[in-house]
Symmetry: C2
Subunit: 339 residues, 2 copies
């Protein structure tokens, strides 16, 4: 491995001078700079980040912890963030975590090892924050998850109002004449988001005085096509009379639609299906999905702005709600008034 020492030896300068060149310091003679840069290029020298980060130096880095490697909404948000950060003096350090991983633990590790100026959490489990977040002492923003109830002055959040958004979905289905509605969602005990959305649904049913049998008409699934596919079949076996389904993600909605079709039911003719998220695929699917679109651009931009503000001004935590948008699509149809 080529080290800074090798470059120093070969150039005739000392390691300090080489280091200065590498870090674009200006207290180096043009001569030295040119000579050293030539050798660096020739030797394909790249500094060792491990060594670099040993000294806990302010790193102008913003860490991003993405939970769920292949979450399409997060992919969109991240892309947005990346392009925005390019115009700042910061660098991004992105880590992908498993769905079940403890992001707060990872945040601690990242802090220790990269010493970032701030952290963005794309997704996350609020429970993990309850214990262990005290040790993270840089400004953080929880993206797409509400953090208002967490008592940390360095943790802001930017999120869609899950309760209202899910309520809006149910409002819409009811407005379309549906009264027997099934719901497919995540585990209400494990997923805070799912629980919020569920509460929004139940509220809407109550407001509209539409009956909803919580025991029979809710079915748990993971956020994957085939888990939702199986959930849809279970749901239908138990509640054969539903005319609409609200799925708590577009991926779930697609699994559900496939299940219905495989059972010989048409979507939306026989049963309407509503999704959530507004991923790109929603408008490429057949039928185009009716869904609640989370505004990923806004989520991204507000999160980053909040974080940069917290870093620069050391402000206290702020919790923002980003508006959502109902997209009508083709998967929900108006149900003729009952005779």
């Amino acid at each position: 491995m080529v080290t800074i020492r090798d470059i120093a030896r070969e150039s005739g300068y000392s390691v300090s001078t080489v280091s200065r060149v590498l870090n674009n310091r200006r207290d180096v003679s043009p001569d030295a700079r040119q000579k050293i840069e030539a050798i660096v290029a020739a030797r394909h020298f790249v500094p060792n980040n491990n060594a670099r980060h040993m000294r806990c130096v302010a790193s102008k880095t913003i860490a991003v912890l993405v939970k769920g490697t292949f979450n399409l909404l997060f992919a969109s948000i991240l892309e947005e963030i990346q392009s925005m950060v390019e115009n700042t003096r910061y660098t991004l350090a992105v880590s992908y975590l498993d769905e079940e991983a403890n992001e707060v633990e990872q945040a601690q590790i990242v802090c220790r090892e990269r010493n970032p100026m701030g952290i963005l959490f794309l997704g996350g489990n609020l429970e993990y924050f309850q214990e262990g977040f005290e040790e993270v002492d840089v400004p953080c923003v929880l993206v797409s998850n509400q953090g208002r109830e967490l008592p940390f002055s360095n943790l802001s959040s930017v999120a869609t109002d899950d309760k209202a958004a899910a309520g809006c979905a149910i409002d819409y289905l009811i407005a379309q004449g549906h009264e027997k509605i099934g719901i497919i969602g995540g585990d209400l005990k494990l997923s805070y988001t799912s629980m919020q959305r569920y509460i929004g649904c139940v509220d809407s049913f109550r407001v509209h005085q539409v009956e909803f049998d919580e025991k029979r008409c809710f079915e748990k699934a993971r956020f994957s096509y085939d888990s939702a596919y199986r959930a849809m079949k279970r749901l239908l076996a138990r509640c054969g009379d539903i005319t609409a389904v609200f799925a708590m993600s577009d991926v779930m909605a697609i699994g559900a639609i496939r299940a219905l079709r495989d059972l010989g039911l048409g979507v939306p003719e026989d049963i309407s299906v509503m999704g959530f998220d507004g991923i790109t695929l929603a408008e490429f699917y057949n039928p185009k999905l009716a869904t609640i679109q989370q505004q990923y651009q806004t989520l991204a931009s507000r999160s980053l702005e909040l974080l940069l503000k917290s870093i620069d001004l050391n402000t206290s935590s702020i919790h923002e709600i980003v508006p959502f948008k109902l997209v009508e699509g083709e998967s929900v149809i108006k149900r003729p008034a009952r005779l």
Copy 2:
């Protein structure tokens, strides 16, 4: 930050003893182990990987470089690899790269910073390997990309025979009575894989003596829904008489189908569409996609086996072909013999 020194001081033992405990060495007294472990837990101490990796120590790590965060085939392969590695003495270090990033450069960095025992490349651009790969000196496996033509004794590959697979797709379309076939694929100059598939197509046309106007009936797109959507529209504007389309990925096929439907054309009634990859979504889409299924389990298992073998036995490079499977789906229909 808590360091090994703090633990040493607090426990009354020396740093080396603490280090030994942390690394599960057996030359530590049970007493010391217990005492130190208690303090480590109480202080939430986690070793600093930067420092740990400064010494270029064999790390029992296998690095995985995934190119293209949202590639669904890679997601499946990676998941498979992860579950297999759990049963070995190795740890995985996964890095995600942009579509356009230079994976060989990244490999060099990973080697320098993590000193892995081997590297798996999920996707990659063969051109990047032409220059710079010499500096990577651990066993590597190119997954899903043919590397036979690269002259490196430490670079194996496990891939689907893209040429044969694409040829098989065209064979199938022709067997179904299609003779005017359009193709949507990646940039033939940039994507080796696309080129191989394209050659397979052209070969098949020649063998079956079916005419194919290379200039008119091929349309370039990126591997995304909306890029393929636009490509499909361009293709149709130029070749209005096609009865079938072969898309070089399922994602492209979905974009193409959406475009056709938006133009009022039915799939498969008016135009048949064939995909490639066999991602999970293919069987959840409407219509279920006819596609060439790459066997991600086999790609995953053979790659890992090959890599472990190379590591253990220091074998020379091996290039394997993994069989593919044609999935009929619903998006391709038999065309009635022409009058």
